[in-house]
């Protein structure tokens, strides 16, 4: 969580390509057993770069206000 946003993952949609983890500016993510996992939730600033570059729409931000 950061502000009112939260990072979500759907492992069933993840194909483990590792793009999100490689280009995360805060090293929040890692691919474990071919699925992305949140390793360091406290460092996440919810910039959304992972969502923007995920080819499989398996990772995204939700607005907690709604």
């Amino acid at each position: 969580m950061y502000g009112r946003k939260k990072l979500m993952i759907d492992p069933a949609w993840c194909k483990g390509c590792g793009i999100c983890a490689a280009f995360c500016p805060r090293q929040v993510l890692a691919v474990v057993n071919e699925k992305v996992t949140i390793q360091d939730p406290d460092s996440c600033v919810c910039c959304g770069l992972c969502e923007m570059r995920c080819p499989d729409y398996a990772i995204w931000l939700v607005n907690m206000e709604e």
Binding site: D10, K15, G18, M52, R53, C54, P55, D56, Y57
Partner: protein, 287 residues
């Protein structure tokens, strides 16, 4: 249950998509969805969801017409622009967006591409350019770089590649641009401008194919291929701030050419008006 964007603009029962792990096409398809979403929410743009038509041909890229939840049509190989031309001529009000691949639009459909560009017909063509025929097993395409390997070029490709953006602009397109997978935000903005452009607009989006092109040419996995894009494809502002020797082997991400040639359906409407006028005056067409 993925993001709101996916729920809003994609056919959720067709997802997750069938592209390979790390394929750039998913990112480009999302770029298109975000671009449309931002235009719909921008009242000044005048874009309505009902006026969007997605047309695709055949190939990995062209699966996108099935995934995107708009008026959509998945046509035959290379003919996406031909079908799109018919749709645009029948109803010029529509925003007709063609999602095609490098092979689909520059080999099999090469003539449709250059003639739609020459006429400056108001279509938006987004070419998912991954330098290879992925769906059929990795044959070289018109954009495979010279010397690179493919299943049909095991000792290196003899051909020299097309630069699709420059091809379109040379053929008369009034808007030609280049995007990529890594610079998603920049590419979304380019796609928005392309959709709003009145004449023929083409965005050559550099995709990545880790499965065939990447593996055959030892380019590494998806992450390595995106690193290459990050270092070698440079967004406009930074590109023009670089010294000439610095940017010698880099490529520009942004708008390559832009002008205000007359748009085809508008010119065609004028011909219809002139013929009607002539009929009214003379009671028939002059022979």
């Amino acid at each position: 249950m993925p993001s709101d964007l996916v729920h809003l603009y994609m056919r959720i029962d067709h997802l997750p998509q069938m592209w390979c792990p790390g394929c750039g096409n998913g990112v480009i398809m999302r770029d298109v969805a975000v671009a449309i979403d931002e235009l719909i929410h921008d009242e000044e743009s005048g874009v309505n969801r009902e006026d969007i038509v997605i047309v695709s041909g055949i190939g990995c890229s062209s699966r996108a017409a099935g995934y995107l939840d708009f008026n959509s049509i998945h046509t035959t190989h290379g003919r996406a622009i031909a079908f799109a031309s018919g749709i645009k001529m029948a109803n010029p009000r529509l925003h007709v967006i063609v999602l095609t691949g490098d092979g689909d639009c520059s080999a099999i459909g090469g003539n449709h591409l250059i003639h739609a560009a020459r006429r400056n017909l108001g279509l938006t063509v987004i070419a998912f350019n991954n330098d290879i025929y992925g769906m059929t097993g990795g044959q070289y395409s018109p954009t495979t770089p010279n010397g690179d390997k493919a299943t049909t070029a095991p000792y290196g490709n003899v051909d020299r590649p097309f630069d699709i953006a420059r091809l379109a602009s040379g053929a008369g397109a009034s808007f030609s641009a280049r995007g990529d997978v890594y610079h998603a935000r920049e590419t979304i903005d380019i796609i928005k401008q392309a959709i709003l452009h009145k004449g023929f607009s083409l965005v050559d989006v550099y995709s990545i194919c880790p499965t065939y092109y990447g593996r055959k040419n030892k380019k590494g996995d998806a992450v390595e291929m995106l690193r290459w894009q990050k270092e070698n494809l440079i967004p406009t502002a930074r590109y023009y701030n670089m010294r000439e020797d610095e940017r010698a082997d880099k490529k520009l991400i942004g708008i390559l050419s832009y002008n205000d040639y007359p748009e085809y359906t508008e010119e065609y409407a004028k011909v219809i008006a002139r013929s009607r006028e002539s009929l009214k005056k003379n009671g028939g067409a002059k022979t």
